[in-house]
Point group: C2
Chain length 175, copies 2
């Protein structure tokens, strides 16, 4: 049972022309969810990692389970205004408009090796902003893990060019 | 190292008079995060569970790691308009105003035994609404697990009175 076959495609969501890749059908299957986390754990088995940073909100699901599996701490990267203590933020451009991600200033210590996790890599804007936050705190981004890569949108190339070592479990072309 | 000592209190957040209990300081410590998940796993070791439903967004972190540990599927319960496929929703009252949680209609099958997970139980309004969604789909709520209970706000009693078996790892009084 390949991971990709458990991902549901929802046509024209959230808007006309977008094929939304929905991982909830994968997560609700015990074997599917386990396969995702175990595949990441195996990929990073020999890589020293101090913390996993998960990007709100689906990155929390994958990132937290993987942090537990690897025996490391978990750090949330959230949309603007959601974290209660002192934060730093990073603004980034969207196709129309802008967005911002934030992290607690005490989330990562200087020199810590951080694995960034989200469900999907599209244009890479959010992941790049999240990586910038980790750098600002003195952390090292040792990799970026995604369940799904949409290679046509260029995000994985952008992250690779930036030295952020993207890795994904499956790809959907034509997005 | 008790779990409670790793939880940070932020005075007057998000508004005057509220003591916010911040679990990010607990999650980022490998031993703390592991202790939380292992304590839940031990508590529910003899309880048959088919799925874990996590409430957005901190419930995703705890719920997903626990689902992985228990070898069951994970289902997200989200705020209004966030889930891509067909949903049902439940509206509930807040101190000022109203809110709504939603779940995919195919998230839970009739007769499935579901453990509801969130980081904190205060008045219990969100958890009760989430439990109602699980019931509407024909699932059974076998328990509600929280890292933190604020007993003075009455939510744990409300859930217990409703037959939803609340369980928490620590309490803060005077909230």
């Amino acid at each position: 049972m390949p991971i990709k076959s458990l991902i549901r495609t929802i046509p024209h969501y959230p808007k006309q022309g977008i094929q939304f890749r929905d991982i909830t059908t994968l997560l609700k299957e015990p074997a599917g969810f386990r396969m995702v986390i175990d595949a990441f754990a195996q990929h990073y088995a020999t890589q020293p990692i101090d913390k996993i940073a998960g990007i709100e909100a689906r990155g929390f699901i994958i990132g937290a389970a993987l942090a537990y599996k690897l025996g490391v701490g978990f750090v949330p990267i959230r949309k603007s205004g959601k974290l209660p203590a002192e934060t730093i933020g990073h603004d980034y451009a969207l196709e129309y408009g802008a967005d911002r991600v934030e992290i607690h200033t005490d989330a990562i210590a200087k020199g810590e090796r951080v694995l960034l996790v989200d469900d999907l890599i599209a244009t890479g804007g959010t992941a790049e902003a999240a990586a910038a936050l980790i750098h600002k705190l003195g952390g090292m981004v040792v990799g970026c893990a995604f369940v799904i890569n949409l290679p046509d949108l260029g995000g994985s190339k952008r992250l690779a060019d930036g030295g952020f070592s993207p890795f994904s479990l499956c790809e959907f072309e034509g997005d």
